[in-house]
């Protein structure tokens, strides 16, 4: 376990672990503020108006936070990125990179899960539909998987096209889960009540994609790390 944390710190220094903690701290403070507002206004129109659209905006943060570490890590495999030569010159650099890939995935996932839990607490307090949060969580797994699959693609344009394509597709799909969708439409709550199996299939597929991406990346990491 220590080896994996050390490999992560080797690639990210000390700053990212502390910024992760700071980020979670800020989210914690947010929960307290929202709880205080809820208590003071007794669930009135003020908090309802203030938090309209909060679910859509903040849920998008869940998959994005997960991508930050992985994108940064995989960029070091590109010779054009500052730091590439430093990391390649380290003792046992291929193995260190492999460990860093695993730990970056775990940290990304952990961060996403904690963030989702915090958001669920906030949104529950504010009586906001959790559909978008769950969708953000599913998207976290999908994007992590995709990052792992495309991490070694050197052409940034190709990676961007893949990412943009995925965002467009998921953005379209997200419409189904939004509480702002037409009341007669297929919302998360509707699916949960009428066809829960579909949600399980969706979540299962996302987890499978994440697992496949991780297995692929770990499998090829040593070979792809020193390519030239």
């Amino acid at each position: 376990m220590k080896k994996y944390v050390n490999a992560f710190r080797m690639f990210f220094g000390r700053c990212n672990l502390s910024s992760m903690a700071a980020f979670l701290g800020i989210m914690g403070v947010m929960v307290l503020i929202v709880a205080a507002l809820e208590f003071m206004t007794a669930g009135g129109d003020f908090t309802a108006g203030m938090t309209a659209g909060m679910s859509i905006m903040l849920s998008g943060v869940i998959p994005l936070t997960g991508m930050l570490f992985l994108n940064a890590l995989y960029s070091y495999a590109n010779p054009a990125t500052p730091g590439h030569k430093y990391f390649l010159s380290l003792p046992d650099s291929g193995e260190q990179f492999r460990r860093a890939v695993i730990s970056a995935n775990v940290f990304s996932l952990a961060l996403g899960l904690v963030l989702s839990a915090v958001m669920c607490m906030i949104f529950t307090l504010l009586h906001i539909d959790l559909g978008m949060t769950y969708f953000g969580l599913v998207l976290l797994f999908v994007l992590l998987g995709l990052c792992n699959f495309t991490g070694y693609v050197r052409n940034i344009a190709v990676r961007l096209v893949v990412m943009c394509g995925l965002f467009a597709c998921t953005g379209f799909a997200a419409g189904f889960f939004s509480a702002d969708n037409d009341e007669e439409g297929i919302t998360f709550s509707y699916l949960y009540e009428k066809a829960p199996w579909l949600l399980f299939v969706l979540a299962g597929t996302a987890v499978l994609m994440f697992a496949a991406g991780l297995v692929y990346s770990v499998g090829v990491s040593r070979r792809k790390w020193v390519r030239e």
């Binding site: 690639f11 220094g13 700053c15 500052p82 430093y86 390649l88 046992d92």
Partner: protein
């Protein structure tokens, strides 16, 4: 393989689509400082990157310290200190991040020494209040930080790619002193390989020189020996045409000419009324690189 070489390469080749390094047969003596000299695109950085395991060679063999052949071996990497020409560390790293990362990576990294060297080189150390990220520092300060990091390790071979290029003349002079100290500390067991374009400034730091042109080795040897092997010929313009066949490379104006020649031709040139003098490393480099360019 001779044990007196810190690096010996045989048939070392690296093939790119538009450039090929080698095949190089090269021996770098142990206990000395070796300068890799060549024009842009000569293959100095490629050679350094191969020696440090940053890129893979296409063919050939490299032996380190007389016996080690596997640059992927962590034990061998512990013995080699490497510093690239620019953007060596990630842009977001501060001195603190570098200290954390290198302490985890290298058993021989001395964090206290790193902080001391940072202060000596007048750059942010990990104890500086709010140390700046690499991206927020000048090229010169980035290089100083890299040098402090690599010198804070207990290594037997330092490989520095253009260490003086972004440094001011005063710092270049200090670097030469540090390199001399490093060799003295090793008592014949520590060696340095560095590439440079600032030949005049770095001459004091070099004992041995390897001249490269378009991926090929054109000359190598101890600088004192090379200064005996070659000479600078200087004469009046009227004698230029007569002396030219004996000059390897030359330049002339309406009144005088000068050029590089083999010292063995000194008597013949003297008979023509041409003066000779010992070349500096800079003159030697320019003469040899010009000669290589004309021979292409």
């Amino acid at each position: 393989m001779d044990n007196n070489f810190c690096v010996s390469a045989r048939g070392l080749t690296k093939k790119y689509s538009k450039f090929t390094l080698g095949a190089l047969d090269i021996d770098i003596p142990m206990g000395f400082s070796t300068a890799l000299i060549g024009a842009n695109g000569a293959g100095k950085t490629t050679l350094i990157d191969i020696l440090c395991g940053v890129i893979r060679r296409s063919e050939g063999e490299v032996t380190y310290f007389g016996s080690d052949k596997d640059i992927a071996s962590p034990a061998l990497r512990e013995r080699i200190g490497y510093c690239a020409s620019n953007a060596f560390f990630p842009q977001g790293f501060t001195a603190k991040d570098i200290a954390v990362s290198m302490e985890l990576a290298y058993a021989s990294f001395d964090r206290k020494k790193f902080a001391e060297l940072c202060e000596k080189f007048e750059v942010d150390s990990e104890f500086t209040k709010k140390p700046r990220q690499m991206i927020k520092q000048s090229d010169g300060n980035r290089m100083r930080t890299c040098l402090a990091a690599v010198l804070a390790r207990n290594t037997e071979l330092l490989v520095l790619d253009e260490p003086g290029s972004s440094l001011d003349p005063l710092m270049r002079d200090r670097l030469c002193d540090r390199m001399r100290d490093y060799l003295d500390e090793g008592d014949g067991r520590k060696s340095i390989i560095f590439s440079t374009h600032n030949i005049a400034d770095m001459e004091n730091a070099a004992d041995y020189a390897v001249f490269m042109d378009r991926g090929r080795l054109i000359e190598s040897g101890f600088i004192e020996d090379l200064k005996e092997k070659y000479m600078i010929a200087r004469g009046e313009a009227k004698d230029y045409e007569q002396a030219k066949p004996l000059l390897m490379s030359s330049s002339a104006n309406r009144t005088v000419f000068d050029g590089l020649a083999l010292a063995e031709n000194a008597e013949k040139l003297a008979a023509m009324g041409v003066d000779s003098e010992t070349p500096t490393l800079q003159q030697l480099s320019i003469g040899l690189l010009k000669y290589a360019e004309e021979q292409r």
